[in-house]
Amino acid sequence: MTKLPSLGADARGGKAAFRALVVCTCLSALLMTVYSQEGPNGPVHTLRAGVQWAVSPLQNLGSSLAKPFDTLHTNLVNASADEETLTELRDRNAYLLSQLGELQQYKEENESLRAMLGLASSFGASGVAAQVITGPQDTWTQTIVINRGSNDGVGLDMPVTDGASLVGQVCAVSPTTATVRLINDPMFSMSVSVGESGAAGILSGSVDSTVRVDYVSSDDAVSVGDVVRASGRSDVYPKGLAVGTVASVVSEPSSLFQDIVVKPLTQAANASEVFVITAYGAQADAASTDQDPDGGQSAGDAQ
């Protein structure tokens, strides 16, 4: 007798939960549909940008808190490195030792920004320097959030570099932050040319963060160590902008294309400062004539 009302209550609770599940499932499906169908400036994308803007102060705080642990992580990775990496690290260490007096953090940041300006001037580019406030947020995507947004002139699809090579591309923007899709993200792809032969291919990322170049003909000469650069076939990336070097090439006689794995020039997810190219070449010239030379976002203003 006492169990019956309890069973009834359980059944009612179960029904309510099932109804909630159906409603939540429908709402989620609706959100997924709208998100997939609308453009990057649609209401759901704007809502996401708003949320990212709202949580950016907390993420900034998290970035400061995580800095000592990031250093610890780097040290641990170095400690467990293989022989090849150790040799590379020893060379780098020797180089760093020669610059012993210049190893303070502010100096490194200054040098990083100078490198970005050097890159900017070599491509006639203008842009803004930004700090990375958070790394990849989930396992299946490789994106970072930077502390510059539409208020600083950052827009969708703009290329992002670390001063020496391409890091990724802006995929979402809020007024004060932007999300950058890294080159090893599964959704990233761009047209590249490989080595001195200029073999054309499509560079793309993958879930395990391996970067590959597909559709390079088996007839094209490609060897390990060749530099992979932006082909300049689209207006998005400056032609010749370095992306990485060829780490391995497999060319089978029965295959039309070569299997090329690329080693990015930088570990994008570990970068702390980046440079967003807002305009380059003719676009940058047009932008500089439109703007006051002292007030515009030219390469010289990036600092």
């Binding site: 959100l31 995580a66 790394g135 995507t141 879930v207």
Partner: protein, 173 residues
């Protein structure tokens, strides 16, 4: 000594766990990774609520926290909220509240549920065409991500079990 009513204390512990998980996700979510796998600390809160407060509260929390997780990342919006609701519903029906008093057992159940969640999440993304991956890559990353999630969950469950154990013994006295 005045004691806190059970329902009030239950509500308070649930709110505390959710707030703690959200804060940890926002502060550290983007800075913790294990060989490419990134943790989802919000799943721990969803699991906790589903077991502590039942399927209804779990489903709502799964949807809301899943949506928050989607908002923070860059994958298809709505995917984590969909899977979060289903995850909570399944956990509430498969697990019992008493499980939370045994942190290690709760953690094992959470790990199993989390692996399934991550595998389904990856499978849906492959089906949606937002990701291409081999089975080996997906399983490896799903397991690593679940290990990270479970370590955090073990900490949360242990703290909860310690606190609720202490409160029960005070009530008995």
């Amino acid at each position: 000594m005045p004691t806190v009513p059970d329902s009030c204390s239950s509500k308070r512990s649930s709110v505390l766990v959710v707030v703690a998980c959200v804060l940890v996700q926002l502060l550290l979510g983007g800075h913790v990774s294990l060989l490419g796998a990134v943790p989802n600390f919000l799943l721990c809160a969803v699991f906790f609520l589903a077991l502590r407060k039942g399927a209804f509260a779990g489903v709502i929390a799964g949807f809301a926290l899943g949506l928050l997780f989607d908002m923070l990342g860059s994958s298809t919006l709505g995917l984590s909220s969909l899977l979060g609701s289903i995850f909570a519903f399944a956990c509430a029906h498969l697990g019992k509240q008493a499980l939370l008093r045994e942190p290690l057992r709760a953690c094992v159940v959470f790990f199993a549920a989390d692996v399934v969640y991550n595998l389904i999440s990856a499978a849906v993304m492959v089906l949606l065409g937002t990701m291409g991956a081999t089975m080996g890559e997906v399983v490896g990353l799903a397991l690593l991500a679940s290990v990270l999630d479970s370590l955090f969950a073990l900490l949360v469950f242990a703290i909860y079990a310690g606190l609720s154990g202490g409160r029960r013994s005070r009530l008995r006295r």
